[in-house]
Symmetry: C2
Subunit: 148 residues, 2 copies
DNA sequence: CTTGATTTGTACGATATCGTACTATATAGT
DNA sequence: ACTATATAGTACGATATCGTACAAATCAAG
């Protein structure tokens, strides 16, 4: 019998895992062209944060192995949504820039998600989300730091 | 430019996705025999909730497609951690029972996770987790129900 | 009972994820 | 400059995930 604390943390991660899964499935239903959640997330990140990032920086931002990021980026490049350019400062690495097509695709996707978000926000209010975010960020930062 | 609400919900799902990923990686570092998070979760569920469930019930509990659950269960069966028996009540389906080996493996795994959990709980207190769970459950239930 | 629709599980194929090993470049220590 | 070590990215192979299509069993309507 595990102690109650263990059970509590298991439940936490279980809920989080299921939410991630449901979110992924829900999102992908809205993305055309077989675009997939990680690809969309990268596109979004390039706009939200900044483009001109290296693949490794992106891998770290999403906490995935760099091989996974290579694969994600190759899909985006094939779709014409990003440009992969040489990095003059460090010839080992590359720089990722979003294209006009990528930007347009991202905007269109977000627009098509609007109604979905509006519906969620009736059940789960923005205030609740605001209230929950600090906890989630703290948890994410802890797990990130604890990765030996 | 997406409206601030959209951005807020994106951030929420982004954090949750990363936490799920980090949790998975952290857990699998502790599981021997190449046991993988979904397999462990199923084992845990069979004890926590009850065994003698059908594969479809398990798939629904974890919100994964039934084909994914078939695959997960076949790994557990090959490892000798579950028994798959015929269901006399409904010959289309099967019933999943945990074996002694499965129970022992699960207990051992949880024990080996103890120190990790103890360490998390210094940074993220059980009280914080308790406080966050209702929100996460509500979100999960909403997403579950919204799957048309 | 019989027929048609539904449900459960699986086989199969496509793609995602990720660990290992490798190449090319950069950096540090001498 | 030279060598050892570290870092960025990729190729490759193993496995996970999941959609489609199917077979077997059940259920519903008559």
């Amino acid at each position: 019998m595990p102690d109650p604390n263990t059970r509590l943390y298991f439940e936490l991660f279980n809920e989080i895992g299921i939410i991630a899964q449901l979110n992924r499935a829900a999102l992908e239903r809205h993305l055309t062209n077989g675009m997939v959640l990680p690809q969309f997330s990268v596109l979004n990140h390039l706009i939200r944060v900044q483009d001109g990032r290296t693949p490794l920086e992106l891998a770290n931002a999403f906490q995935v192995p760099k091989t996974t990021m290579t694969h994600t980026l190759s899909g985006l490049e094939k779709a014409g949504f990003i440009d992969v350019k040489a990095n003059e400062r460090d010839k080992r690495s590359k720089l990722i820039w979003i294209t006009e097509e990528g930007r347009a695709f991202r905007d269109k996707s977000i627009a098509s998600l609007g109604p979905e978000i509006a519906e969620i926000s009736t059940a789960i209010t923005p205030e609740q989300v605001q209230a929950a975010l600090p906890f989630l960020k703290a948890l994410r930062e802890y797990l990130d730091a604890a990765r030996d």
